[in-house]
Structures are given as structure tokens and as C-alpha cells.
């Protein structure tokens, strides 16, 4: 139990620092790399929560595919690789109070409704089989819908990005 908490604390600290760097760094490529750290941290948290398949998917899709897309996006739009001071807009100061208020509201709600509720200490591992039973059983319809969304996204991305 203690080990898990220590692990959580370490990973959470790294994640928060990395997330803050994502939104504050003045280098687009660095932001992408810090995002990798956050995403990997999320994957690690999934492992702590015994969600190994989600963790693997997270690593494959996010760190593998989405990050490559981001880096390509950075490259193809010829964003300045390197330090670039003009990444924040004029409303950047507005962001801090909004985020603070939002966090305060959520913290109040969370502290109020969950308090010190504990997670089950003997939580069993969710196997890939159970997830597939879920997806292809009760949640089949959303799965179909999702497939169409993906198809639409694929065609849309090609249409948008191709040269006419």
C-alpha cells in the first residue's frame, strides 16, 4: 500500500511538473516532449489502477501515434523549432484565474463528495478479455458509432490536407 502511494506521488509530481511545462515552455518541440512525459505518467497511473490494457493502448496510441502526428504538425507548419517567445496570446493572463477558479470548484466538489473514501485494496486486474466482452457486448453500438467517426476523420483528414 505504502509502495503504491509512493509510486503515485512520484509519478503525479512528475506529471504535474511536465504538464505545467507543456503549457508554459517557449519551444514547441519541448512542449511535445513534455507531453510525452505526461502521457507516459497517465499510462503509469493506469497500471496502478490495474488497467493494463488501457495503459498499453495509451502508450501505443498516444505516445506512439498521436505524438508523431504532433511532431509532424510542428514540422509541416514550419513552426520555429527552438525558443519562440510568441507562443502565448494576449489573453494568457486570463487563463490563470479561470484555471484557478475551475480547480477550486472541482476541489470543493471532490473533497465534499469523496472525502477519504478508499480504493478497494484487493482490486482485481481487469483482463483484456473482460474489456473485449464489454466492447462487443453491451457497448457495441457506441463502438460502431466510433468506427464511423474514425472513418470520417480519416477521409476528412485526407480531404483537408491534400493539395488540390
Amino acid at each position: 500500500m505504502v509502495a503504491q502511494n509512493i509510486g503515485f506521488a512520484i509519478i503525479a509530481t512528475i506529471m504535474v511538473i511536465a504538464a505545467i511545462r507543456v503549457v508554459t515552455t517557449s519551444n514547441v518541440v519541448h512542449a511535445a516532449l513534455w507531453l510525452v512525459v505526461v502521457l507516459a505518467g497517465v499510462a503509469a497511473q493506469y497500471i496502478l489502477l490495474a488497467a493494463e490494457f488501457v495503459a498499453v493502448t495509451q502508450v501505443l496510441v498516444y505516445i506512439g501515434a498521436v505524438m508523431v502526428l504532433f511532431l509532424f504538425g510542428t514540422m509541416l507548419t514550419r513552426s520555429r523549432i527552438g525558443v519562440n517567445s510568441g507562443l502565448n496570446n494576449r489573453y494568457s493572463n486570463l487563463g490563470i484565474p479561470v484555471a484557478m477558479v475551475l480547480f477550486a470548484a472541482m476541489s470543493l466538489a471532490l473533497a465534499d463528495s469523496f472525502g477519504t473514501e478508499k480504493l478497494p485494496s484487493d482490486g482485481s486486474l481487469v483482463t483484456t478479455q473482460q474489456i473485449s466482452d464489454q466492447i462487443f457486448g453491451p457497448y457495441l453500438l457506441p463502438f460502431w458509432a466510433l468506427s464511423f467517426v474514425l472513418l470520417a476523420a480519416v477521409i476528412g483528414a485526407i480531404v483537408l490536407a491534400r493539395k488540390d
Binding site: N89, Y91, L94, G95, V98, V101, L102
Partner: protein
């Protein structure tokens, strides 16, 4: 007689053996420290690299000592169980991946060599790369590189093996392309990376095949997965595997070894990899990168043993590739003017010997050759670096910028000569004991043709090394070593060898103002040279077959004893010295059935291999060939390079046959042209064309169809729904909106960020409201 369980000794173990997994971990941590904090440290991270390699060396040394104790604690011919520790790494969908260490004699010997050479190379680099622009990155990559190799060596399973293997591939790319501002360097790095990757596919395929083929058997008999190297070895010798499956798997694995170890026909990357800094060449080509392929074959030897039926035939895939490599690489070494390229082809050729030995059942001599070769080849490379650093203004051209250096660089010269003699295999230098053993055993195991190839290779080795030595150290000083472009050495070093790849002409150059004229290098360069030369001289004595069995220490310590083992030692700390109980093994002679027949009970971990008895008559033959090579080459070099004998100078221009041969060699058998112009174009062209066709015909077709369909549909929607239903509503609401819009217009700035800010502010306010209401 059946050996009873009482006849067995309990094997000793110790802290270093149990914690050998720390050896790769330490440099891995060192890498992270260097990459994160290196630039802020007083010595720019090099001290961390050196320190971590030193700790690894100490750990490896301790492991070696305790392994020797462990071997001595066993009974004669008793199977010495490796020290295994595994941890569960990953578990998904019923498959379990473990990660762990398995320390046996092979692992120990390679660990010691790798840690030792890496430490010396790091020390050397602190001087050689002084003032380099990416000094810190260089040490980071160098440290990670060693970590990868060490991880591969201690690996208990093929997964970790693969991991270490790939880390090395990546780091070699970074190190070879260290001076990537020069186009030639980054091309060489890419070439090395892609060529090795071509082979790596074989490793992936082989590992996967072995897993699926052996997993059931290993789980049942040994309780380990099909990734465990021990499990695979036992399975391969169990008589269980289908001969086709194991043949295909071993071919796949050997393709990986071809790529990594620069064997024909994928050797072309290795000489180009000389573009990297010299310490990198030294590390890559003596003990780490290129040895990985040989290590793969010797590590999974039972698979190759069974797959290629090594003792049952007079030639197989490995020996053919090894034999071809020995000869063609040695021939290429004759026409090189670049000293590092001579050494590179020499490495390729020596790796051919190791492969030949492994292919012909000479396991121990091949492994011993890894050991000795690492020392003398590292010494030669570092010597070449010392020359370019201190004498020839960063040129590696023997014909233009060297010559007559023996007087000005006595230490470099002495170490070079010792290592050259070791490489040629002159008694009593270390190369003699390993290379001669390979040639001997190859013949002993029925591969006569390949023994002759080995002897021819020995002749060629002696000849090209003599040529290189003559050009470098004897004759008269030429070019930079004569101090020629001494005044202009800050700007004119490139034109001096513009017809050749120019190495090491970058940042390291800008700072060394001290070198006016050739001189001896500093202690951080000469100390590694001297240490390596001492080992090149003496390391052969560790397995000096000619002096009788007492001298065959490496054989005792390293060679796995082929014994039928009834039970396997369970892994985990404290358990690894629980001993196996062997079945019927007759006392007196230790012929075990392993490898030749199926063990009825128990398992084998290593095949039983014979050793050729040493005969001075055979040794004299090969020594004679070597001396002949040296003498002929010396004579030829003197005539050609110093006296400019008219009959020899320009011979290749005059004689058509020789010219054709020379051109073939200069163009490296046209293999590069074949790869780049024919194969890459043939593959890349059609793929690009197919992708274009697919884009034009299929995707466009789909898009047009979708567009047509949606146009028809929207037409219908427009006529029936939009016009009648929606418009009526919109027209009315529009009037209401117009009034409100006038008030809110300033908010609609069209700026996305502002919209986002407003959206989230609204959400925050709404959340606050909800919280307050609910509390």
C-alpha cells in the same frame, strides 16, 4: 557408472554474481545523469561517464572472480549452473514477460572485456574530444552504448537481449553521426543504422519464432517462458524441435548477426562507420557493436548447432558467410589508404574468423577470439587516433600524411607493433592462441576447405597489416607528419585529403593549439594504449593450448560443460546455488550425449564439442604462412613506397587484369552501388508508384463517390427540409437574435483563444454555482 547426487558439489555464489544486473544499470543511470545535468558539471559529464564505467568494471571484475570460485567449487565436469535472477516485467493476455540476468562463463568474459574497453575508451575520449561542441552528448551516448551492450550480455531472456541490441543500434547512429554537420558523417550514420536495421528484422523474426516454437516445451519442462535463453537452449538440444522450424529460426537470427557483425554481404556499413570519432570506432569495432552479432550466435549456440547440424556437415550457412567475409574483407584492406579503413576491414575479416569458428563447432576458440581481438583491435584503433590527434593533423591518410613516425611516437609505435603482431597471429602474442585454435578446430571438425580459407586469410592479414605499418611508421615522413601544413593548420586541413572522407576535422581540432609538428600524445591517450598492448601481448596465455591443459583456464571457466541435467535450478536470490542433479554420466571420460542424441531424461544446456589436440606441426605451418605474408609484404612495400621501383609503380595502370581487380576492390565489389542504385530504387520506386496509383484511383474514386452522394442527399434535404421547415423558424428567430447580437457584438472578436477563455470561465462559474448549491 552413474554419478550419484552426492558426488556433486554445491556451487558457491556471492554478492557480485547475484547482483550482476547492476553492471548495465550503473551506466544507464550514468547516462541519465549526464544527459540531465552533464553540462553543469565541472568536467561536462565526462567524469560521470568514466565513473559509471569504472564501477561497472569493478562489478564485472568481482563477478568474474566469484564466477571462477563458483567453477572451482564444482566437481570435475559438473554442469555449472548459471546464476539466474528474474523479475516479472510485464504480463498481458496470459503472456508473461520476465526480465533478468543469467550469468555464465560467456557472459562473464564478455562483461569484463566490454567494461574494460569502455572504461579505457572513456578515458581516451576525455583527451581526444577535448573542447568538442557536443562533448556532453558524446559521453552520454557512449555511456548508454556500453549500458546497452552490457544489458545484452547479462540478459536472461531474448526480450532484454533485443532491448540491449536496439539500444546499441540507436547509440551507434548517434555516435557515428556525432559530427553530423558534415554530410558524409550523417550519411554514414544513416547507412550504418539502416543496414543494421535490415539485419535486425531477422532478430525480431527469430525471437518470435523461437518463442512460439519453444514456449510450450519450456513451460512444461523448465517452468520458464519461450523467451528464456536457457529454455531455448535446452529445447533446441532436446530433440523436440522440428528441423525446418529451427533451421528457419537460426537463419533469421544469423541474418541479424550478419547485419550487426558486418558480415558479407551487409559489411558495407562498417568501414563507413569510421566517420565517427576514433574512440567510437575503437569501441564499436573491438568489443561492443560488432561483437554483438558473434555474441548472439554464441549465446544461442544450441539453436544454431541443431539448426545447421554443425557437427554433421562439411559446410553450412555460417561457415560460408564467415569464409567469404574473411577473404573479401582482407582483400579490400589492401587498397585502402585510410588507416582506419584498413583496420575496419581487418575487423570485418576477424569477425569472419569468429563466425567461421562458431559455424564449424569451434565455440571456445571463437569466444576466446572475441576476448583477445577486443584488446589488440582497440589498441590499434586508439593508436590510429593517437597518430591523427598528435602527428598528422587529423588526417587518416597513410600515403599522404604519415610515414616515419616510429621515432617521434615511440609509445604509439611500440603498442601498434605489439597489437599488429597479435592480430597477425604471431607466437606468443594473444592472437596466435585464439586464431590458430579456430583454424585448427575448423579443420578438426571436418571443414577442411574452410581451414584453407582461414590460412589464406591469415596470410592476407599479415600482409595488409605489414603494409599499413610500413606506410605509417617507416619510410620517410610525408605530408602532415613531416610538419608540412603546419602554419596553415587551422584552415587548410580539409584540402589535404579532399578525395577521401575527412574525419575528426571538426571541433577537436580547433582547440589543440599545442601540436606543432608530430609528437607523442598525452598520458590519457598513451595509458590506454599501453594497458591494451600489455593485454594484447599476454591475454593469450589465459588459454595457451600449446602449454598443456593447466594453461587452458578460459576453457575451464567459460566453456559450458555439456552434461545432462536432471533438474534445473530455480531462479531467484538464494536459490541459484541449489544444484542440478545429473543423470548417467560415466566417470573417467566426459562424453555426454548432448547435441548428438536426444537425452532420455533431463535436459542439456550446451552441446558436447570436441577440441582439436594441439600440434606444433600445424602451428608451424600457420606461423610460416604468417611470416611469409609479413616478409613478402615488407619487401613489396619497400620496393613500392620507398624505392619507387619502376616495375611496381603504376602496375595497376599498365596491367589489365590487375587494373580490373584493383577497380573491383576500390569500388568495394560494387556492393554499395548495388544496394543504393539497384535495390533501393527497385524497391522504393514501385512502392512510390503503387502509393501514387492508389491515391489517384482508389482514394479519389471513393472521395468523388462520397461527394456525389452527399451532393444528391443535400439537394434533397435542401428542397424538402431546409426550405420548408427550417427557414420558417430561422426567419423568425433571426429577428430576435439581431437585437441581442447588437449588444454582444464586441465579444465576437473572432479570436479562438478568447472564445476558449469565455467558454471555460462560464464553465468555472457554472461549476462554482453547482458546488455552492449542492453543499
Amino acid at each position: 557408472m552413474i554419478r550419484s547426487a552426492e558426488a556433486l558439489q554445491t556451487l558457491s555464489s556471492g554478492w557480485f554474481l547475484e547482483h550482476a544486473w547492476l553492471i548495465p544499470i550503473v551506466p544507464a543511470i550514468g547516462f541519465f545523469i549526464i544527459i540531465l545535468f552533464g553540462k553543469k558539471l565541472p568536467m561536462k559529464g565526462s567524469e560521470i561517464g568514466l565513473l559509471s564505467m569504472l564501477s561497472s568494471l569493478v562489478l564485472a571484475g568481482g563477478t568474474a572472480m566469484q564466477w571462477i570460485d563458483r567453477v572451482n567449487s564444482g566437481a570435475e565436469a559438473q554442469f555449472i549452473a548459471p546464476v539466474v535472477r528474474t523479475w516479472n516485467w510485464w504480463q498481458i493476455g496470459g503472456m508473461k514477460f520476465t526480465i533478468g540476468q543469467s550469468i555464465d562463463g560467456l557472459a562473464v568474459i564478455v562483461l569484463v572485456v566490454v567494461a574494460f574497453i569502455s572504461t579505457l575508451v572513456q578515458l581516451y575520449s576525455t583527451e581526444y574530444l577535448k573542447g568538442d561542441r557536443r562533448y556532453t552528448h558524446f559521453f552520454a551516448a557512449l555511456t548508454l552504448f556500453s549500458a546497452g551492450m552490457l544489458a545484452m550480455v547479462v540478459a536472461e531472456d531474448t526480450i532484454l537481449f533485443l532491448l540491449g541490441w536496439e539500444i546499441m543500434g540507436l547509440c551507434s547512429f548517434m555516435l557515428i553521426g556525432h559530427w553530423w554537420e558534415d554530410g558524409a558523417n550523417s550519411r554514414a550514420a544513416l547507412k550504418a543504422f539502416f543496414t543494421v536495421r535490415t539485419g535486425d528484422m531477422g532478430l525480431l523474426v527469430g525471437v518470435a519464432m523461437l518463442y512460439f516454437a519453444s514456449n510450450e516445451w519450456t513451460t512444461e519442462h523448465l517452468g520458464v517462458s519461450g523467451f528464456s535463453i536457457r529454455g531455448i537452449s535446452a529445447w533446441a538440444l532436446s530433440g523436440e524441435p522440428n528441423s525446418t522450424v529451427i533451421l528457419v529460426a537460426s537463419v533469421a537470427l544469423f541474418i541479424a548477426a550478419i547485419g550487426k557483425s558486418g558480415q558479407f554481404p551487409l559489411h558495407t556499413w562498417l568501414p563507413d562507420a569510421m566517420a565517427g570519432p576514433t574512440p567510437v570506432s575503437s569501441l564499436l569495432h573491438s568489443s561492443t557493436m560488432v561483437v554483438a552479432g558473434v555474441f548472439l550466435v554464441s549465446r544461442l549456440y544450441p539453436v544454431f548447432f541443431t539448426g545447421f547440424d554443425i557437427l554433421g556437415s562439411g559446410g553450412n550457412f555460417i561457415t560460408i558467410i564467415g569464409g567469404i567475409t574473411i577473404v573479401i574483407a582482407a582483400a579490400l584492406a589492401f587498397v585502402q589508404n585510410d588507416i582506419k579503413k584498413v583496420l575496419a576491414y581487418s575487423t570485418v575479416s576477424q569477425l569472419g574468423y569468429m563466425m567461421l569458428g562458431l559455424g564449424a563447432g569451434a565455440w571456445l576458440p571463437a569466444v576466446f577470439h572475441i576476448f583477445t581481438h577486443a584488446f589488440f583491435k582497440a589498441c590499434l584503433f586508439l593508436g590510429a587516433g593517437s597518430i591523427s590527434h598528435s602527428a598528422s593533423h587529423h588526417s587518416f591518410d597513410m600515403k599522404k600524411d604519415m610515414g616515419g613516425l616510429r621515432k617521434v611516437m615511440p609509445i604509439t609505435f611500440t603498442t601498434w607493433v605489439i597489437s599488429t603482431l597479435a592480430l597477425c597471429g604471431v607466437f606468443p602474442f594473444s592472437g596466435f592462441f585464439s586464431k590458430d585454435e579456430i583454424i585448427d578446430n575448423v579443420g578438426h571438425n571436418g571443414y577442411q576447405l574452410f581451414m584453407i580459407i582461414g590460412l589464406i586469410g591469415a596470410f592476407m592479414t599479415a600482409a595488409y597489416m605489414t603494409r599499413a605499418t610500413y606506410l605509417t611508421f617507416f619510410g620517410e615522413a610525408r605530408g602532415a607528419s613531416a610538419g608540412e601544413h603546419h602554419d596553415e593548420h587551422h584552415d587548410a586541413h580539409a584540402p589535404a585529403h579532399d578525395d577521401h572522407d575527412s574525419h575528426d576535422v571538426h571541433d577537436a581540432h580547433a582547440t589543440d593549439h599545442a601540436d606543432h609538428g608530430p609528437h607523442e600524445s598525452g598520458w590519457r591517450i598513451t595509458l590506454p594504449l599501453v594497458l591494451l598492448a600489455v593485454l594484447a601481448l599476454s591475454s593469450g596465455l589465459l588459454n595457451a593450448t600449446p602449454f598443456g591443459e593447466k594453461w587452458e583456464r578460459i576453457k575451464t571457466w567459460v566453456e559450458p560443460r555439456a552434461e545432462v541435467v536432471m533438474e534445473t535450478a530455480p531462479g531467484g536470490p538464494g536459490h541459484s546455488n541449489v544444484l542440478s542433479i545429473p543423470a548417467a554420466a560415466e566417470e573417467g571420460h566426459h562424453d555426454s550425449p548432448c547435441g548428438s542424441e536426444t537425452p532420455e531424461e533431463g535436459v542439456c544446456y550446451a552441446p558436447q564439442l570436441q577440441h582439436a589436440p594441439f600440434k606444433w606441426s600445424k602451428a608451424m605451418l600457420s606461423l610460416g604462412i604468417v611470416f611469409l605474408g609479413i616478409a613478402l609484404s615488407w619487401l613489396f612495400s619497400t620496393l613500392l613506397y620507398t624505392r619507387k621501383d619502376k616495375r611496381l609503380v603504376g602496375l595497376t595502370e599498365r596491367n589489365g587484369v590487375l587494373r580490373a581487380g584493383y577497380n573491383l576492390l576500390i569500388n568495394k565489389y560494387y556492393l554499395d552501388a548495388l544496394y543504393e542504385n539497384v535495390i533501393v530504387r527497385a524497391i522504393a520506386g514501385p512502392i512510390a508508384a503503387a502509393a501514387y496509383w492508389f491515391n489517384q484511383n482508389v482514394l479519389d474514386g471513393i472521395l468523388h463517390a462520397v461527394a456525389r452522394a452527399s451532393r444528391a442527399f443535400s439537394g434533397w434535404v435542401y428542397r424538402n427540409i431546409d426550405q420548408r421547415v427550417v427557414d420558417g423558424t430561422v426567419n423568425n428567430s433571426g429577428k430576435a437574435t439581431k437585437g441581442a447580437g447588437g449588444v454582444l457584438a464586441p465579444v465576437q472578436s473572432g479570436k479562438v483563444s478568447q472564445y476558449g477563455a469565455l467558454l471555460f470561465s462560464a464553465a468555472a462559474v457554472a461549476a462554482l454555482v453547482l458546488v455552492i448549491i449542492n453543499s
